[in-house]
């Protein structure tokens, strides 16, 4: 408090009078609000996190200062479950890894087991696997693109995407008997052949699906809002992407040409004429474009495969590997014994280990398996493509806007089931 007895010294002529003079410096004109860091929990149950991921975000204004990803809400003990059932019984568990493209997981798993046993599956089965995989690749990319469109404010592309998805699901249901959890294929080939008249239906459906994809493409690719939200956001450099172990369309968006289908062709991919789209910048927009283009390439592959598919057996005729035909089971003692042994004990996979990979919708789906020579796996390691991709999200998004997190999370297409096993 000022002393009232002290004489007030007259203001010196140089000092500005706060009441009369405009003395504030330019910089002082801005009101300095104290910024306080804010903690935001996105998820585990958040519409934009698709699965159940908890993103602990520390915000400074609108910028993300710190981010931590907490995963595991969807953990089901995939590996432990597989170690306690027969090789064939693992197959339904693989459906639930990437539940948007279940067939690719089925076939990837089977491919690794067949490699461990040392089997060459019949040609027709290889074609069916290619067709099924590519159908589900379109299905997976449709889901990703549609959801990205929806979360960035466009509901119409989402509806187009879902309509197209529905068409594919109908064909998948005719082929496998289930819409999502396909449980398709068996060790040594396929469990059922293409249904009567299915190929024509697929061609017709693909025509429709591709026109819907074009529709989505037209609505999104040059949409001002969509481009503003995705272009130059969520950028990762090619070196970082490789270092983190990215694969699939997300790695190719950075300009790296790596596709397992081309690098190490499996099944009949070497007979297919298709291109692998490569991006430049590694931003969200490029990742989106990769998916649009890959759908068109998958469409090409399916049409070629349906044209080329030969007649013939769909599964090996070896009763130690594949179930005998039903008339043999009911009519002969050998058939009954083989059937019983396969169901109760499982396929006897020779002791050994293998690492094998196929190209799933989001990248390299790797399997490392150890067999102790019994009918059950000793160890099943799955290298889910989404796992390393998700692990790089904190690196990408740190220091960027919170609004960029949504398209980034969309375009990396993290699938809870495979990441959290």
């Amino acid at each position: 408090m000022a002393d009232p007895h002290k004489p007030v010294s007259p203001p010196s002529p140089e000092a500005p009078n706060p009441d009369t003079d405009a003395y504030a410096h330019e910089a002082e004109l801005e009101a300095h609000l104290q910024t306080k860091r804010m903690y935001v929990n996105m998820g585990p149950s958040h519409p934009a996190t698709h699965g159940t991921v908890r993103l602990k975000v520390e915000l400074e204004g609108e910028n993300i200062a710190e981010i931590d990803c907490e995963i595991g809400f969807l953990h089901r003990g995939f590996q432990k479950s597989c170690e306690n059932v027969t090789w064939t019984q693992c197959l339904p568990y693989t459906d639930r890894l990437n539940y948007v493209s279940a067939m690719m997981n089925n076939f990837g798993f089977l491919n690794a087991v067949e490699k461990l046993i040392g089997l060459e599956i019949p040609e027709r089965a290889q074609y069916i696997r290619v067709i099924g995989s590519e159908l589900h690749r379109i299905h997976d990319h449709l889901t990703c693109v549609a959801a990205t469109g929806m979360e960035l404010g466009g509901f119409a592309p989402f509806l187009f995407g879902v309509e197209a998805r529905e068409l594919i699901m109908d064909r998948v249901a005719e082929l496998t008997g289930a819409r999502l959890t396909t449980n398709f294929g068996r060790i040594g080939g396929m469990n059922r052949d293409l249904p009567e008249g299915w190929s024509e239906k697929v061609i017709k459906s693909l025509d429709k699906v591709m026109s819907l994809v074009d529709e989505m493409d037209g609505l999104l690719t040059r949409n001002r809002i969509f481009v503003d939200r995705t272009k130059d956001t969520g950028i990762i450099s090619a070196e970082d992407a490789i270092d983190y172990g990215w694969t699939g369309p997300c790695l190719r968006a950075c300009g790296i040409d790596y596709d397992v289908r081309k690098a190490k062709p499996y099944w009949v991919y070497d007979r297919m004429d298709f291109d692998v789209p490569i991006g430049e910048k590694g931003d969200n927009y490029d990742r989106y474009l990769m998916r649009i283009e890959e759908m068109k390439q998958s469409d090409r592959i399916i049409r070629q495969a349906l044209k080329q598919i030969p007649a013939g057996p769909i599964i090996l005729d070896d009763w130690r590997i594949a179930l005998p035909p039903k008339p043999e089971v009911y009519g002969t003692i050998e058939g009954v014994i083989s059937h019983f042994k396969l169901v109760m004990e499982g396929v006897q996979v020779p002791a050994g280990e293998v690492y094998d990979a196929t190209e799933a919708a989001n990248g390299e789906l790797g399997w490392y398996m150890v067999s102790d020579g019994s009918g059950r796996p000793y160890k099943v390691h799955v290298r889910a493509p989404g796992y390393p991709i998700l692990s790089a999200v904190p690196h990408i998004i740190k220091g960027k806007l919170l609004a960029d997190l949504i398209p980034t999370f969309d375009t990396i297409n993290m699938i809870g089931g495979e990441v959290e096993q």
């Binding site: 461990l116 040392g118 690492y355 790797g366 490392y368």
Partner: protein, 175 residues
Amino acid sequence: MSTFALDRVTAQFPEAVAERYLDRTGGAWAVIHAEHLPKVAAFLKNELDFKLFTSIDAVDRLHLAENDPRFEVVYFVYSLSRHEHVRFKVRVSEARPELPSIVSVFRGADWWERFVWDFYGIRFSGHPDLRRVLLYEEFQGHPLRKDYALRDRQPLIPERPIKDIFRGPGTSGVS
């Protein structure tokens, strides 16, 4: 399958390689001594262009014929120029389950090492943030070890008792 990378590693660091073999599918493997692991990883990445980090996992060899040391940690790295994987493993004993971390070489190893710690209880010294990744911090034990009971459930929130529904894989009630 090519043994190029492992040949070069053996030539460069003969003391680091304990064993070389081919698995039954022709894949080339090397068993690396734990203390030389970061050196080998850096050599693979910087000199031999094996840059794309694929994955890490472990195997608990408790029930296998050869089970000493108990754990094997397996590493897969891919070369984009040579189009091949290199596979190598490190053996870890149960008494001292610890390995040097390779996060400083490959950032992609970060979550995989956390995974191995989470499910096998193998520590990675030098890892910047070795927490559990899929399970919660309160979880007791490491579930992918073979001596962890299949039906040992540790819910954070008590589960509703359901007697007549059979949960999970395996035969009858006992694991």
